[in-house]
Chain length 378, copies 2
């Protein structure tokens, strides 16, 4: 293999594929990037066996071939080179990297040892606007949390039905649901559970790209793909593909726990409420408990926290209130997470009873809701 490539392009590709490369002591081959030539492209691949990434970079292919080298080292070397044309050449499993007055030689590995990354050919897929999709994922992804006993809720649940995608996550204390409307309806309804880590990589890698994302799926795998903005000859060509295995198991019937009726509905300013919760959080002990008191008569919501060793904090915020007075205790972290996922300046807070699930949602946007359980009073 021998190729010529611009430093900036190669650096960009390596920065993406190395995201999932760590120090894998039991399987050191996974610390590497698989590099091979494809037509007028250099293809970079990495995998941690759960997620795999493939990235294509335009290059001048002098001689075809493939090579496997440590990803962090190769990326570090390329980053430190001048902004010039780089010549990369494979010799006896080693990679020679030359640029201007730099000559580097990186020890490589046998390409046959690198895990095979699955191909998606003629599989079903649908298309969605990348930025809108990733923004939706961001509002949901952090709510999931690793669970040994219930692996299905460690992942993010995707439901594709007619012209909508629903994205759901829960850790059993709270739940977030985002609905995205598609431009054209899906051919066949489906659903799957994607692990949290690849979901985060999708946001990281595809979140700021213009254009559509193609979502391919097979019974136990999925692949998210974005195309090159300017491919040679105008033929569409993938820029990046993110593969992930799916989580086995059935997602709980989450819609059951979303309350439909409320005792009290509150509308308040998001930033002010968030700030008051943060202040109160300084006065909570180990249970992270703060109290929310809704007072329809004085049209205010009080935020209160107390710990005998620390002191106490009390603040109030004016609110539009419909319904009865109510008081409930929450883990402040769960309220902060929910409010941070909401971007509107006003937020709707629906409370049912002291120990029943409550809902936070953006004002004027029915596409997102965040269900949170109060802390039961002792």
């Amino acid at each position: 293999m021998k190729i010529e490539i611009l430093k900036e392009n190669l650096k960009k590709g390596l920065a993406i594929v190395e995201k999932i490369v760590g120090k894998n002591l039991s399987l050191p081959i996974l610390d590497n990037v698989f590099i091979n030539t494809e037509d007028s492209f250099l293809n970079l691949s990495s995998t941690d066996l759960e997620t795999a990434i493939r990235f294509w970079v335009l290059a001048k292919i002098v001689k075809k071939g493939k090579v496997v080298v440590p990803a962090k080292l190769f990326s570090g070397v390329v980053s430190s080179l001048p902004d010039e044309k780089i010549i990369i050449e494979e010799k006896n499993q080693g990679l020679f990297v030359e640029c201007k007055n730099f000559k580097n030689q990186i020890q490589g590995f046998n390409p046959e040892e690198f895990p095979i990354i699955p191909e998606f050919k003629d599989t079903e897929f649908l298309e969605v606007d990348g930025k809108r999709f990733c923004q939706g994922l961001t509002q949901v992804v952090d709510v999931a949390s690793f669970s040994q006993s219930r692996p299905e809720i460690s992942g993010i649940y995707f439901i594709f039905s007619k012209n909508t995608i629903k994205i759901v996550a829960t850790d059993s204390f709270r739940l977030a649901e985002k609905t995205i409307i598609l431009d054209k309806p899906i051919k066949k309804d489906t659903s799957f559970i994607l692990p949290q880590k690849p979901t985060k990589e999708i946001i990281n890698i595809l979140g700021d790209k213009d254009g559509n994302i193609k979502i391919h799926f097979s019974p136990n795998q999925t692949m998210f793909e974005s195309l090159m903005e300017e491919a040679p000859g105008g033929h569409p060509h993938p820029q990046v593909q993110i593969f992930s295995r799916l989580v086995d198991g059935e997602y709980p019937n989450y819609e059951e726990i979303i309350p439909k009726k409320f005792k009290t509905q509150v509308v308040l300013k998001r930033d002010e409420f968030l700030n008051q919760i943060r202040t109160a959080s300084l006065f909570t002990g180990k249970v992270n408990e703060i109290k929310i008191k809704v007072k329809p008569q004085s049209k205010e919501v009080e935020v209160f926290a107390q710990d005998p060793d620390i002191g106490e904090s009390q603040s109030s915020i004016l609110a539009k209130i419909e319904g009865e007075p109510i008081e409930a205790a929450f883990n402040y972290k769960f309220l902060i997470d929910g409010l941070q996922n909401i971007k509107s300046s006003e937020v709707i807070f629906d409370l049912s009873k002291e120990d029943g699930p409550c809902i936070l949602k953006p004002m004027g946007d029915a596409s997102y809701l965040y269900v949170v359980m109060p802390i039961k009073s002792a």
Copy 2:
């Protein structure tokens, strides 16, 4: 105690005094800030027994008094309050902090338990331009390193003589020396060793302040002081004071190890050289060893590193060279540290013999030098 104060002013003061406050398990009183009233100021103090900080904030004193409260908590509460006037009131060792629709109460401690911070009255002092002084400290401070067996070299050595301050640090592998010229000569020559941590605090706290710093000293303590930019009534008033104990012991006669003669002098571009060393560093093993080869004939310096498991890196940089060909091995980290302390675009690199000390210094600035020992060849 009862006072009125602007949030921003109080927040700024707390941010400074809390810098030296950590979690002190054996002496929890040190987690606190000591707050007392002085004329029309609120004075905030903190100490970790090695360093102490005092900061003055303009306030409306309704009732005099003093109080001791957890520094991080108080700072957190103040930061989270709206940008308004805050009312602070002490009641039974507790502190009430009120602002707009916030009411907080912080549990405090007995002010008598707080360590006494020494006063410097009528002690000797000298004045130096704050920015110039702190910039000099920055070029030296990180070279010192903690040494149980030789505590004197853990600190930064200050030599005040005639119209100069010399600032020196070493870890026995390398040494940095900065000379600052004063506007007027010092009354009496002196020298002391300041621990590294307070030296860093001086840079952090006083580094971006305009105007002079006053350096007070007594036989075993020192205090660095900057004045308020606008004190009430135009009377000079301290803004911040940083106290530190001094390190016992005699600093080694460091001038002996600064070589006076060289075999070879090299002048090269700092950024390019730094970049080549960083690239080579990726190919070093555990000893961090890179080789520098000076080649007068081809007017270039070669940077080389090799590790059988990783590969090798070779690069070259054009240089002005006077003297003989020479080759020496260095810990790349020491070269990077030295080059980073030099801000000029060209750097002078003096090499004597393969295992003798070398010097890095800025081009056209005799006030700084960085001595570095090569790694002895096996």
